[in-house]
């Protein structure tokens, strides 16, 4: 079995801690002092519309972006300050299911799932193959080992990506838009799978999504992001009953009126 990595970390009751995170894209402020805490074994859903900054937040959590200010910690270790070795060890404890799967197109489904084991362990080929097939069984993809990613449907790609994310037995799982592009039935199946995984493996899960139904089905707590700021973090009921107009607009799929200064608008058009 893959060995758990050890990382220099301070004692903390949280699996994920984000403190006053600020992020820019060129001169545009994408995240504005975002703070978030996720407890071990919890399913946290980060929700928001397009351009709310949720994908940028996820990239920071994965250590793919460097914060302009603030701090992102996983298991108590600040990933923006972590050395290459510490980041390597942290990443061995993480599994990520990307929006479009991000399966390696040149490899079969089984090779994709086995890839992290081949890279990070010295297990023999037979064991690697058995472990990869076990994970494919977990996501109901047994029998599809030899297919190439291009031969799979959207839902199957997401499940294969999940099997790859699970193969190192991570303590922390990230999902980027798990329901995007899936029909309601397949989407509900995937939600069930996420819940089963949490219950069976006691893994901490962070899901980034804009799908309300999916979010309410799986979340222990929800964070609502809007224009780079957190509007509310709370249980499903707390979010549903939020008095915030912006939160209610998002929940009821109402587009927001954007105040437009006529002179500023004219200047933009003619500049």
């Amino acid at each position: 079995m893959p060995q758990a990595a050890t990382v220099t970390a301070s004692a903390t009751p949280y699996a994920i801690e984000v403190e006053d995170l600020v992020s820019y894209y060129d001169s545009r402020r994408i995240l504005d002092e975002v703070s978030l805490r996720v407890r071990p074994g919890e399913i946290m859903v980060v929700m928001g519309g397009s351009g709310s900054g949720k994908s940028t937040l996820l990239r920071h959590l994965l250590g793919l972006n460097r914060p302009a200010a603030g701090r992102v910690s996983l298991f108590g270790a600040d990933i923006s300050q972590a050395s290459a070795r510490e980041l390597y060890q942290l990443r061995r404890r993480m599994g990520v299911s990307f929006q479009n799967g991000a399966l390696f197109n040149s490899m079969t489904v089984e090779e994709n799932v086995a890839f992290p084991l081949r890279e990070h362990t010295r297990l023999d080929e037979r064991t690697i193959r058995i472990m990869a097939r076990m994970k494919l069984e977990v996501v109901n993809l047994a029998g599809f080992e030899r297919l190439m990613p291009a031969q799979l449907s959207g839902g199957m790609i997401k499940r294969a990506a999940l099997a790859r994310a699970l193969v190192m037995d991570p303590s922390l799982l990230f999902f980027d838009e798990p329901s995007a592009g899936l029909d309601p039935v397949v989407s509900a199946d995937l939600d069930e799978l996420i819940l089963r995984l949490r219950d069976a493996l006691r893994v901490t899960i962070l899901v980034v999504t804009h799908e309300l139904d999916s979010a309410f089905r799986i979340a222990d707590r929800i964070t609502v992001l809007d224009q780079g700021r957190i509007l509310i973090t709370g249980t499903v009921e707390e979010v549903r009953n939020s008095p915030s107009e912006r939160v209610q607009n998002l929940l009821n799929r109402r587009s927001e009126e954007i105040d437009v200064d006529p002179e500023e608008y004219l200047r933009r058009l003619t500049d």
Binding site: G63, L64, R91, L103, P116
Partner: protein
């Protein structure tokens, strides 16, 4: 309105940044090739062999064809020119020197830049677009170790090999035409080539092969990682990779030739 000076400044800074990025890819690849085995993150031999296959073995037929044709053309031009001076027998030395020092490696490099440079840029670019590169990073697999280092090593091994194939094919191409025109047996032509050639002539082509291979690998990988803007961007960076590689090869060749033949 942006001024010409602003645009020139931006482009210059962009070029310097790109050069620095390609250089950092080179250093990082060498680091993984040398230190990877000690960090339990080696560059996979299977990946290197796969790249050697794609870059080298599969390019052999086209390199042989182009080099053979180039050798024959040099013989045709050489004999036509030397005939005016009654120095047709000197064509052997002319072909032998120019092939081993210059044209063998140039043909191999241009074929590899066009064939593999574009394929590498497109492959890494499409991996970048489909988040496969991000997936590698979050799995704790450094993309430079996994993608760039095998390409660089394969290039360093296969470019000299392709150059030797190109040298042989060009000399045979030139030899066949010369033997038909001057009634000189092909074996005699080749023997005379060996007589006039020195190890340093072959080495000149082989040094260049290492430099050109490095240039093609780094330019292709740097362009692949820079892909943005969807399918249109992928096409743009792939084309850019080939154009830049060939330009870099020709300029580097000129600089090399100047210093090695003074």
């Amino acid at each position: 309105m942006r001024t010409f000076i602003e645009r020139t400044g931006e482009r210059t800074l962009g070029a310097i940044e790109e050069l620095g990025y390609a250089f950092s890819l080179c250093i990082e690849s060498l680091y993984w090739l040398l230190a990877g085995p000690f960090l339990q993150q080696p560059v996979r031999l299977s990946a290197v062999v796969a790249e050697m296959m794609k870059i080298g073995v599969l390019a052999v037929p086209v390199v042989l064809l182009l080099a053979f044709a180039n050798g024959a053309m040099m013989a045709i031009q050489g004999l036509a020119t030397l005939r005016e001076f009654g120095a047709e027998s000197q064509v052997v030395a002319g072909i032998a020197y120019s092939v081993t020092r210059e044209f063998g490696v140039l043909i191999a490099a241009i074929v590899v830049a066009g064939r593999s440079g574009s394929a590498i840029a497109a492959r890494i670019g499409s991996m970048q677009m489909s988040q496969e590169v991000d997936a590698l990073r979050v799995m704790g697999v450094e993309p430079v170790r996994h993608l760039v280092a095998p390409i660089l090593l394969a290039m360093l091994i296969m470019m000299p090999v392709l150059t030797m194939f190109a040298n042989a094919a060009a000399i045979i191409g030139g030899g066949i035409y010369t033997s038909m025109t001057l009634s000189m047996p092909l074996a005699v032509f080749i023997e005379q080539c060996f007589d006039v050639l020195d190890w340093s002539d072959l080495a000149q082509g082989l040094y260049k092969a290492l430099v050109f291979g490095t240039l093609i690998a780094l330019i292709a990988c740097a362009n692949g990682f820079s892909v943005s803007g969807g399918a249109e961007g992928l096409g743009r960076f792939t084309t850019r990779s080939v154009v830049l590689s060939i330009a870099a090869i020709v300029v580097a060749d000129m600089i090399f030739t100047y210093f090695l033949n003074r």
